[in-house]
Symmetry: C2
Subunit: 480 residues, 2 copies
């Protein structure tokens, strides 16, 4: 008999048929005469209830059926009387494929802390919370590819190991095969990277944008979706040393087109998840309600999870310039009452999380797109405005998260780009190929980056970024 | 007027309408009175012909329109008389967005060697060959996600930076933030990795399989699709230091299910590409025919590209055991005539590329699945057969490529796995979590790995793996 999934059985159009299921035991309860075994195989957030007639089958058959064990059950799919599901399985045979000693199995049927589950990241896929997060994470991955593919974008695999940290986006990880204890040295006594695997100093990428620009300046519309790395010693709920980024880049797009694309993209991803992961979202919504029930009303999330997601899909993002935002912040109550940790003085101030959250959560109460930032606080490749002060940057700020998307129109004019690189002490030699994109057939183009884990955090409502990626990499932690 | 793509214009259902296009110039030709400009924007392998009436518009308008320049043209979409396309554009205005000095632009309208294009990887997206490869690569990426998503698999992002090289799959790249010149030392004079970013020695992953197994043993059906790394000093047309791998892993699947999945998967990917990239495949097929026209008949590919792809889709893969294959090879003409570089003596011989290609290209003339290899030449995690000699491995061999897929049923029995790890000197301590998957709720499960670039090579017919990934990483080369 062919094995079926829990999802297929719970959605069956037939009943009173013989079926076979293999799955992991979540709970077992019952009496002397009957045992109820709830099993899950990851295909759905719902468990299938297996009913075992102990009088008929003997008590020994469920002796080794414990939480965490893996069983194969054959029996009849019948309408359920009270399990909360449409169907349950009346077992005619139970086979234990893999035991789980109740004295040793870490995941007992009780509430475990997220910290404890992180230490057992190999097993946390078996919990209701992390399996829901995993299904939603997958759904978002597929939605990303589906969105771009249907709009004529090409996915580009930009390199992970790079020969330059030209973007200067932060500290990088060095990649090497040199003997660390006795590295080869040059005559001057420096490390001789010519003898390293790639014949030069190499690092893990911080962004695929520059390479994506090369592809866009030929293929038109491209996107990357790959791992990126920051060797920052940030032990926060929002930072990972290894995280996934999505970076679309589009030839001939100007900043407004870029914002339109980003807004459409975010709404599509969230709407797709609402449509395809409803039960998982309900589970996670209830989890948050449960978690917050002992908090004071003002400390709770202002909206429930699904309401929050629908709100993003249904409302236009607020668009304004950085300069306009600074005015709002300067005149805001918390700034005047000196409640901000970093006071907002005027043009040039780099926005902190507290400012971004004020704009999004208090002032506009929806996602906010800020544009035209001071050039001093943005990257060298952003297109310079005629005011000589600002660049065509855009950041999209989300409630609870802060910056979700960061992008810009790129500086396509060779002379202005070279001048800006000189001002910012960026080596033109290393980026000879990036400059050639401006030298040969240059054109306006724009793109943005979306930190994938921040998106998964927003959609699942998980408070800590380490709980939305299977095996998080953070300072002093690379287990598994 | 909204910008349109070349693809949209060539497939237009309307004609004699005003349209706007921005694209790169492939060629310009013509006479005193009229100029024909072929442009491409990456949306299709076909160029759009722009016709410029020089008598009306003046000759100066096309002065700076050179190969590689980027132009914006507005005009009327009309039926074409002779361009080989349905439509062409009668320009009413031409604007040069970005020039490309003919004396400096590397990609002149002539045939460049693939080696030369590799040195200009930032520009080769603009060639017919590499843009066709890029579109096919994208199509295969999307097909991978589509196949698994529609079958209830979840994509899992396994870690890139790992704390163990437990699989022993080859030499690895070290990832570190330690000062190489003056690294911190322990009291014993060894490098003190406790002071490194992750507090231990870390490497770039060689495979996501072990972590994918953890996910499969809870979520049922999962797959990875991410970059993997080998620090092997192999300068061949088949090896990259950084390449992308697809690794599905399925709970409860036995070896036969695993082979069925792999065969369905390969056929789906190729059929999807045949359906969605026909024109690109025709271009690449003609490229190969052109390249081989000076070769002797017996040195040419036995089948044209599209014929070869259809052949894989339409035929069952041949399945046999390693032991049966050894008998065929031992009795084969090249073995008896000592034509093999590595003679086949009997059970235990590790198959070389020449043997794999004999089986696929000469003996069976179709993809071949070999199973049940000697345990000595396979990894520790493969399920041991009752003969005590072989394991439930499977390799799928493809014409021209050799090994395309490698997989196995995994050893799910804790005692047998621990014993095998001891025999192979693999540290159980480092893999405590992998062993716990067998200790708690173990179950049969299987999976395989597909090297994505080998697949793109097969589908595009490109001879060198460096020409199917945007920015290849190989020994002494990490440019861009």
């Amino acid at each position: 008999m062919a094995r079926q999934t829990v999802k297929a059985l719970l959605n069956s159009t037939e009943k009173d048929i013989e079926v076979s299921i293999s799955a992991w035991v979540r709970t077992k309860r019952g009496s002397k005469n009957v045992a109820f075994i709830a099993v899950n195989d990851g295909s759905t957030p719902h468990n299938l209830q297996i009913v075992v007639d102990l009088e008929k089958m003997g008590e020994a058959v469920v002796d080794k059926v414990t939480t965490g064990s893996c069983i194969k059950a054959i029996g009849k799919l019948v309408e359920s009387q009270g399990s909360g599901q449409k169907y349950e399985l009346e077992a005619s045979s139970i086979e234990v494929l893999g035991e789980a000693d109740a004295n040793e199995y870490p995941l007992q049927p009780k509430k475990h802390s997220l910290e404890f589950l992180r230490e057992n990241a190999h097993l946390r896929f078996r919990t209701s919370t992390f399996s829901a997060v995993s299904r939603i994470r997958h759904t978002l991955i597929f939605a990303v590819h589906n969105f771009f593919n249907s709009r004529g974008f090409y996915n580009i695999h930009t390199p992970i190991i790079t020969g330059s940290d030209a973007e200067g986006a932060g500290e990088t990880f060095n990649v090497s095969t040199l003997d660390k204890k006795n590295p080869p040295l040059t005559e001057e006594g420096e490390i001789d990277y010519k003898k390293d695997f790639f014949g030069k100093l190499t690092n893990l990428t911080v962004s695929g944008q520059l390479e994506a620009e090369a592809a866009a300046m030929a293929l038109g519309k491209v996107y990357t979706f790959g791992p990126t790395f920051r060797a920052e010693n940030s032990n926060t709920t929002r930072h990972l040393a290894e995280f996934w980024m999505i970076e679309p880049e589009v030839a001939f797009n100007e900043l407004e087109d870029n914002i339109d694309l980003a807004e459409d993209f975010m709404k599509y991803l969230i709407a797709y998840t609402l449509e395809n992961c409803h039960d998982d979202l309900v589970y996670l919504e209830n989890r948050i309600i449960e978690e917050e029930k002992n908090k004071k009303a003002e400390d709770r999330q202002p909206m429930n999870l699904i309401e929050k997601l629908k709100f993003v899909v249904d409302n236009d993002f607020e668009r304004l310039t950085y300069t306009e935002a600074i005015e709002i912040l300067r005149n805001s109550k918390p700034n005047k009452k000196k409640k901000f940790q970093y006071p907002v003085e005027g043009f040039g101030t780099d926005l902190q999380s507290e400012h971004e959250r004020y704009l999004v959560e208090k002032h506009f109460k929806k996602p906010v797109v800020l544009t035209d930032y001071p050039k001093e606080i943005k990257a060298f490749y952003m297109r310079q405005n005629e005011d000589g002060k600002t660049v065509r940057a855009m950041d999209i700020l989300f409630p609870g998260i802060g910056e979700m998307v960061g992008g810009s129109q790129r500086e396509e004019r060779l002379d202005l780009l070279v001048k800006r690189m000189e001002e910012m002490h960026i080596e033109a030699d290393e980026l000879w190929w990036y400059l050639e994109l401006r030298k040969f057939g240059t054109a306006p183009h724009s793109g943005f980056g979306l930190g994938f884990e921040r998106l998964v955090q927003f959609v699942t409502g998980m408070g800590n970024i380490r709980d939305v990626i299977p095996f998080p990499r953070t300072p002093k932690s690379a287990e598994f």
